[in-house]
């Protein structure tokens, strides 16, 4: 675990804080598109786009699109933070 000596505690804590903020953001959106949308599905169904009642659409496809975006967004941002805080892993051989 020599990486703990290589990166200072402050640096690691800052990095972890950034991570927690991004994780919280991701989970909030995740919660809204699944549970909040399902909770208000009847109200949302009054909006019909292209034949799809919006509440139904969020359950069937909308939430899925957001999930895929959320994960890639998380991955790219975290990979960027790694560099920013000097905690990225050694280049792969």
């Amino acid at each position: 675990m020599k990486e703990l000596q290589e990166v200072s505690k402050e640096q690691r804590d800052l990095y972890w804080k950034k991570n927690i903020r991004l994780t919280t953001f991701t989970l909030v959106i995740w919660f809204v598109v699944t549970y909040v949308c399902a909770f208000f599905v009847k109200e949302l169904n009054n909006v019909v786009i292209f034949g799809f009642p919006f509440g139904y659409y969020m359950g069937a496809q909308g939430s899925l699109i957001v999930f895929v975006w959320l994960i890639f967004n998380y991955a790219f941002k975290m990979n960027k933070y790694d560099k920013e805080f000097g905690v990225e892993e050694e280049e792969e051989k």
Partner: protein, 668 residues
């Protein structure tokens, strides 16, 4: 050898591209063959032999004698390909064949499965995937063992991994048997054991390495097979071959049609007839056990009354009726209660397809979604896949690719369901019984579709028709008027889905036994050769046991698979997440948390399933709803009461939290 390996990894894109094109050419070739008179069974056999042959070639050419290749594919699988492999590892026979049918039947409420089985990857991405890769060992119990010190946590991990994976494995092997027997017209038992050979040939010689590259190949076949029929159906129904977008129009048609059916006097007549039927069953239930004896006697009399020269089919039918009859009054009560409930459902107007919470109440739908999500993020055969990528960075991206490849299928499933429902409502209901389309008769033969002219008006009413969930995807090629070669393709896709999941599960179980139990706990000095040999032998033994259990075709299996999610969610997930996110979590906390979460989950399952226990009306399938929070709270509280975690464990957690220093496995 080293050269050959890197040139394979460097050319992955090209190799699988050629493979995909080759497969498409093969399907087109079969299509031409069909036009020239190739028989259906010939097409079925060609599909099975060629696809299983392909998997076998990949499996055998990936054989290995290196521990890191056997357990984690040498940690050399690029993010995108690990995503594909995870996709087919994850999507089982139930996703491929059953998902669309579930939505067909449950309408909006069935979307709990769609959201649950995809949303779980968000949890996996932020809570577990990258950190497990940083930890970088071989199995999930490995992590529990390292984080919570000693054999106790590892042992609970092994037990939970085996319970969750084994029930799931049996369901996959059963799926393989069903597909084999239906499309090759062979016996179910033989189908199971042929399929078993297909599973073993992929995993035995090359472990995770072989399984990974076969799973990628299987993903390609299963996704092509899933998308082709529904795309054609969309083109037929709307003129645009993009089912995922076009089914919106169809939803409106379904809604209008359902209203029309609910107002039809003939339909109302049938609903009345179901009421009479339900009352009859109710009377039988009240008259138990006398009614049980009388009915049993009547069936026996019927068989005895058949003249000696009666057709064999009639005798067989009478015999089957006796075999299917409940064994005792208690079983009769359970069966008849179900029949009564089914009949009662048909006395009421159709619940609109789009209406939320018509079949599951809101609490149960949300609870089910939650349990499936957390369970997804806690299933060891999926988590294990993130050990196989080269870096933490790639692990993060790989979760995204995994969900993307899963998304392609789940995104389409609601379209499948809608097109099929529209077809049934618009073009089947209201037809004269004598001129029903051919696909209905075909699937009636295997019992997936059944219809009966209750009111004897010669016309098919909605409640005179029953369609099994599995029929939706399997029958769509015929509904869309496609040649048999596409039906065969769908079967090959279903087989790929079942085989790939079975491979992943089998490996998880045998690794838990060979690596965690044998190597880590019983004989840490075992040589590499010995470890791999034991692992391979266990693989064969577990496979044979699962096939043996599958041949009994226990109906409880389907239910157990759903339970596996709650079990994984309540036992694994809290301990894994707290292990990374709570530095103070310690051994005592984790042991209590895993044990209590698991116990409460199991207690509620058994209580609600068999003894009428009900908390807030939550159904058995969502039992994890109580176990998950209990697990988290217990770990938090007990860890603090017992003085938190020692310094070296806290350092371990700190190191898992940053990618720097990721272990690049070089073990031979």
């Amino acid at each position: 050898m080293a050269n050959g390996k890197s040139s394979f990894l460097d050319n992955l894109g090209k190799i699988y591209m050629i493979y995909t094109v080759g497969f498409i050419v093969f399907v087109i070739g079969l299509g031409i063959g069909e036009k020239m008179g190739m028989s259906n069974s010939m097409i079925g056999y060609t599909y099975m032999v060629i696809t299983i042959g392909l998997y076998a070639v990949i499996g055998i050419s990936s054989r290995t004698a290196k521990v890191s290749e056997y357990y984690v594919a040498g940690r050399s699988v690029p993010a995108l390909f690990n995503g594909m492999a995870t996709g087919s590892d994850w999507m089982s026979a139930a996703s491929f064949i059953g998902m669309a049918g579930t939505i067909f039947g449950l309408g909006y409420d069935g979307l709990a499965y769609i959201m649950g089985w995809t949303g779980g990857y968000v949890l996996l991405a932020v809570f577990l995937g990258p950190y497990l890769r940083k930890f970088g060992q071989y199995t999930i119990p490995d992590f529990l063992g390292a984080r919570y010190g000693g054999s106790a946590a590892r042992t609970i991990g092994i037990i939970a991994a085996i319970i969750a994976s084994f029930t799931y494995l049996i369901a996959q092997v059963t799926g393989v048997g069903i597909i084999m027997s239906r499309f090759l017209a062979i016996d179910f038992q033989i189908g199971v054991f042929v399929g078993l050979a297909g599973i073993l040939v992929c995993s035995m010689l090359g472990g995770m390495k072989a399984v990974t590259w076969t799973q990628v190949a299987q993903y390609i076949i299963l996704i092509i097979a899933y998308l082709v029929p529904v795309t054609v159906m969309s083109y037929n129904a709307t003129g645009v071959p993009v089912s995922e977008v076009m089914y919106g129009q169809v939803l409106q048609k379904i809604d209008a049609k359902e209203k029309q059916i609910n107002a039809d006097p003939k339909e109302i007549e049938v609903m009345g007839l179901w009421k009479i039927e339900a009352d009859k069953i109710d009377a039988d239930i009240k008259a138990l056990p006398g009614s049980f004896e009388a009915k049993k006697q009547a069936l026996n009399d019927k068989l005895a009354a058949l003249p000696a020269d009666a057709p064999a089919a009639d005798k067989e039918k009478a015999q089957k009726a006796i075999t299917a009859f409940p064994k005792n009054p208690a079983e009769a009560k359970e069966k008849w209660e179900l029949a009564k409930k089914a009949a009662m459902d048909k006395t009421k107007p159709i619940k609109p397809y789009l209406q939320p919470f018509a079949r599951l109440d809101m609490l149960n739908m949300l609870a089910l979604t939650f349990c499936l999500m957390v369970g997804t993020a806690g299933l060891p055969h999926i988590l294990m896949r993130y050990y196989t990528v080269p870096s933490v960075k790639q692990a993060r991206i790989s979760v995204g690719w995994s969900l993307f490849f899963i998304f392609l299928l789940y995104f389409t499933a609601p379209a499948y369901a809608a097109f099929a429902r529209n077809e049934v409502l618009s073009n089947v209901i209201g037809l004269p019984i004598a001129s029903l389309p051919a696909w209905m008769a075909n699937w009636a033969k295997v019992g997936l579709v059944s219809f009966k002219d209750l009111n004897a008006d010669g016309i098919l009413q909605f409640y005179e028709l029953t369609i099994g969930a599995d029929a939706i995807v399997l029958a769509t090629p015929e509904i869309a008027g496609l040649p048999y070669v596409v039906s065969g393709l769908v079967a090959a896709g279903g087989l790929a889905a079942a085989l790939s999941t079975a491979d992943g599960l089998l490996l998880t179980i045998s690794n838990a036994l060979s690596h965690d139990l044998y190597y880590k706990m019983i004989n840490p000095n075992a040589s590499i050769l010995k470890r791999l040999t034991i692992s391979r032998v266990l693989l064969v033994i577990v496979a044979i046991i699962s096939a043996y259990v599958a041949t009994f075709k226990l109906t409880i299996i389907v239910e157990l698979v759903a339970w596996a999610f709650s079990i994984a969610a309540a036992s694994f997930f809290p301990a894994l997440v707290m292990g990374i996110w709570d530095k103070k979590a310690n051994k005592a906390g984790a042991l209590c948390g895993m044990w209590l979460g698991f116990s409460l989950c199991l207690f509620y399952m058994i209580g609600s399933r068999f003894y009428g226990l009900s908390w807030f009306g939550v159904k058995t399938i969502s039992s994890g709803l109580f176990g998950i929070p209990l697990g988290f709270i217990t770990i938090y509280v007990v860890s603090r009461l017992t003085g938190g975690a020692p310094k070296d464990i806290q350092d371990f957690v700190e190191s898992v939290r940053i990618p720097k220093g990721a272990s690049v496995a070089h073990e031979e």
